[in-house]
Every structure is written in C-alpha cells, then in structure tokens.
Symmetry: C2
Subunit: 180 residues, 2 copies
Amino acid sequence: MRRMKLSRAFTLIEPGPAVWVTTREPPHDNVMTISWTMVVDFKPLFAITTGAWNHSYAALLKQRECVIAVPTVDLLDRVIGVGTCSGKDTDKFEKFGLTRIPGRVVGAPLIAECLANIECKVIDIVRKHSIVVLEGVAAHLNTARREKRTIHAVGDGTFIVDGRRLDRKKRMASKLPAGL
Amino acid sequence: MRRMKLSRAFTLIEPGPAVWVTTREPPHDNVMTISWTMVVDFKPLFAITTGAWNHSYAALLKQRECVIAVPTVDLLDRVIGVGTCSGKDTDKFEKFGLTRIPGRVVGAPLIAECLANIECKVIDIVRKHSIVVLEGVAAHLNTARREKRTIHAVGDGTFIVDGRRLDRKKRMASKLPAGL
C-alpha cells in the first residue's frame, strides 16, 4: 500500500463500489460490508448508513474511527461472506483470510488484499437517519494490483462489475476540484 | 415508462450511478446531475448531497419534491452537459433535448429518455452536512429500453460504465428485504 493524496480519496467512493468498513474491537478487529455510502465533500467527507443492526456500530461509536477498504471483483465471494455473518460470533479477518495492516492515523486496520484503504474519523452521527459522517484522514492505494475493477451491489443479490472507463476530463474541467 | 414496484426502487440507486434530479421551477423545470447519493432505507429513502451551490436547491426547498431519473451510457454527453451549466440561465430540458413526462404524485417531471424515474418527497434536510433526505413515492421503469448500462462518475472527469452482472442471489438470500 502506498500513500495516496487525500484530495483524491473521494474518487474511490464516488463511483459507488461496495466497500468494507473495518473497526478496532479488542480483542479482535471487525469488518462489515456496506454499499450505502456517499461522498459529502471533497475534503474528503463521506456518509455511510449504519446502525445498531450492524455489530460494528458499537465500535464505531466508541472508537470514533474506522477504515473504508475498497475490494475488487476477485474478492466478491469474501465481500458477500463478510456481509452475511456477524462479528458478534466470528473473527472475520481469520475466517475470510484477510490480512490486517496497521493504519497510519487510526487504530482500525487497513486490509492488505484491497485496492485502496481510507482511514477515517467519525465526525458526526445523524441518528434520526442512521447516517454516520466520516472524515478521511489518510488514504492508501495498492499500486501493484492488476485487478482494479470494483463491484457495485444492486441490492437484489446481483452485483455489477466495473466495465469500460470513459475519459471526459476536458469537458468536466470546470467541475473538478483543485488539487486532484 | 411502466410503473415499477416501489420496494425495488432502491436497487436503481444502490449501485451508485450518476443520476439526474429534476425539480419543478415555474416558468420552466430544471434538472441537475448528481453522483453524491445513497440509499438510506429500503422503504425507499435516499440521501443526496446538495446545497445552495446548485441552482435546483432553492426549488427543492420550496417544492419539497423532485424526481431522481437514471440515465444510461448513451446519455453520457447530456449528463455532462446538464452537470456543467446552470438552470439559472438555461432551460436544460430544451438545450439537451430531454422529454418531460408528468409524474403521478409529484410536480417535478420524469425524463422520458431515462431507464428509470423515482418520484420523491423531501422528508428532511440535514443542513450541517448539506444532506437532503428523500422518500421515494412512485417508481417507473422503461422496460422497452435495450441500453441498460448506467454510468458511475469517478470524480476526476472519468466515468465507469456498467460491465458484467454477477448473480449471487442464493448466497445473499438472508440479506435481501422482503417484497423484492
């Protein structure tokens, strides 16, 4: 994992991939699969929808930090596995063979197998809507990885894999943030 | 456009496509391009990030309703066009040749060229984070459309087109909402 410019971290989440969110939960850590996420600010700020129905939520409240890890299509079966069992009774890192790497800023672990990891602090919780607002504080990219296609959960049990990438940078120039 | 089960409408937004949001703004209507969206509840509820920097925001506050329209890859240039000019001085429906269809519940128009349209009511605004929470109240799908691939804005001026769809319905069964 190489350091990635924080000002580019929002581009990992804006396309809407299913992601993992890791939390530090002594005696072991935990990870959940989430696809209800959005960018809220280029800073970057992110919103995720989660609540007490996710075992990770208690740790998120307590530690006030997490890592958003971005898996690719070769990890789909593990994405589903992580999303269909609970940290309450499972050490998911062990069960799914995921390798933890220490973060630079937060206590929650990065996931070595992922394309990218964003270390985040919880900056607000909008309880009424189960929205947790996160600020990205460090970002890491696995530049050696050949498989870069992420997956998008449809919500009906199917997943869409990234297809072609179309370049419209010139036409979008007026809308791109400085420092990209 | 055919009526679509409202309980399935979240599956249009969960994969994270760039969308259009239409608003009723007499004397003409307006439309903006947004990719900062997420599902908040299966009901469905959606969150979108927008604020006074978008001309549509004033109408959204005033009318308290909108339509989320889902364009496909053949509309990419119009998605960019809509996203890089302002309703302040442009009738975007006219400029980009978009055909309005009256909604069933809300005053904001559906867009005939799109794959799908979700009529929404504004149910809350979290001003601190510029998050608008919407409830879907009717959904429509263009079942005759052959092009179904949506587009995902990366945020750096590139766009990812939907690729393959992988079926994991059996393994996801425990997580799928009833009534899908």
